[in-house]
Symmetry: C2
């Protein structure tokens, strides 16, 4: 079933110990949409500037992503540049030029509104809230946030996530949002804020799924070479949501629990592939067989 | 089958955000032996001073640990004191008084020598080497090391681990020993140094088992409250080796692979219990049923 993905479509400049790319297709919405497109029909909502290249639009279109919701605005596309430390554990932002993304106000085209699934990338929580409001039959809706909104707009964020079925954040964001250092206690507090499904990402160490009735720990994949970690968390989100949308999972459905666990693994699989090449390159060449093979590898290295 | 445990028996002073204990039973050998004692017969080799209290000896004896190899030397028992940061992620050593441990030279009493299993805690690699040399029918022998020996005595360390069946170290030690940041590549290099079983501990994130034919990732247990992490890695080692000794695992035995995976989980179980109270307190009150219950919890939160 269809998944609406809301988020930035951008140009990234990235430097890692493996090399440097001055300008390439990036943005959370891009990674989420590309990753989810291996599982389900994706409807993208975003904004780009006049400098957005036809060949980059084709990267998305070639994966069958609906771009009716990708607005083209006067001005330049969001640009971000960053550099990774030698061991890739730290990232320093060099440039953030919001450009047309500064005035982004997500509008779902009529053809998107009946989609049951939506993932809202990290934007102002008041804008995230409007996404769900535009959906006519929301079944499983949620998204991401970041420290900037947790600190700056806590009230708006609380109102948004109160209506969400799931929240997908990293460990430091979970600690900040809950005021609890311990992840189990942090998770319990966050589940009381609204979302009944919480995914806490832990970078290379994997991710944890928390539900009122239990939890599930997904390990990170041990890559031999991390080429460029940019977009790995968003690729996780895309694999997670794409699989759930493919399976038609409903929050109220008991059978969903097993699907949620598998979605965590598919998310991890997609995040791991993303790191293998610069930017979206690996997601462009990936096949469904590659994904299944790595999913089976997760089975093999976790079975006891 | 019997397991020889070689390592420090000490007094620890520990301060965590939950409280402070000025002096209590500790030491790697103590944690390893206590943890392993839930699975198999343990023969401890260590040294204590004249100040070693009868009640602390009873803690070991009450768990059925053979103390024929626990030497009592003139002088004081090894004393270590440290303080943990607020989030427990950092530990600062306040005092290290080696005392009688400075001259420790592990001697296996005749009754220990036919034991097939041995775990050598972190001491000078030349001394670790002598442990295996004293065994008459070694089946699965290995141990731990640390940055101090990796830097200071690389030649002796290489000679020791060349003869070992397994090595159990943490991620930063694995990186230092191999000169590789990436854990998969680090593991490949270390497996070429001798041990055909390598366990890399990752603190709260769990541990990874590497073998020439594959690997296994054990997640860390999500405790709600980490009271005192001192000894958690040693308790992991004790659970890991204790289970293998109980199962009679042989390095050459194909059936061992599944046992090695389960041993990783039992290690994680024991490490998690250790953190629940100060020092060895939780290991004193633990039951085999508690262990099985947590093992099943690992099954539940990793199954997909």
């Amino acid at each position: 079933m269809s998944l609406v993905v809301v988020g930035s479509v951008a140009y990234d400049g990235v430097e890692t110990p493996h090399g440097k790319v001055g300008r390439m297709l990036g943005g959370a919405g891009t990674f989420i949409a590309l990753s989810a497109s291996f599982f389900t029909k994706v409807n993208l909502v975003g904004v780009v500037g006049e400098d957005f290249r036809a060949e980059d639009e084709s990267v998305l279109r070639d994966r069958g992503i609906d771009l009716s919701g990708l607005e083209k605005a006067p001005g330049k596309t969001f640009f971000w540049a960053g550099v990774y430390s030698d061991n890739m554990n730290e990232r320093t932002t060099l440039t953030t030029e919001l450009n047309v993304f500064a005035d982004f106000n997500p509008k779902l085209p009529p053809s998107y509104r009946s989609a049951p699934y939506a993932f809202c990338g990290n934007i102002h929580p008041a804008l995230q809230k409007q996404v769900r409001a535009q959906m006519t039959a929301p079944r499983f809706v949620g998204g991401d946030t970041m420290n900037f909104w947790i600190e700056g707009t806590p009230k708006e964020l609380a109102e948004t996530i109160r209506e969400w079925d799931f929240l997908l954040i990293n460990d430091s964001e979970a600690r900040q949002l809950s005021g609890e250092h311990n992840l189990r206690r942090a998770a319990r507090k966050i589940l009381e804020m609204g979302p009944q499904t919480l995914v806490i990402k832990r970078g290379e160490y994997g991710a944890i799924l928390f539900r009122p009735g239990g939890y599930f720990v997904a390990p990170g994949f041990l890559l031999e070479e991390v080429f460029d970690p940019t977009g790995a968390g968003d690729s996780f989100a895309g694999g997670f949501m794409g699989y759930l949308a493919q399976q038609g999972v409903s929050e109220l459905d008991q059978a969903s629990h097993q699907h949620l666990r598998r979605a965590m693994i598919y998310g991890s699989v997609m995040g791991s592939f993303c790191c293998e090449q610069f930017g979206v390159n690996r997601l462009r060449t990936l096949s469904r067989e590659d994904i299944e093979r790595r999913y089976q590898e997760f089975k093999a290295f976790t079975d006891f």
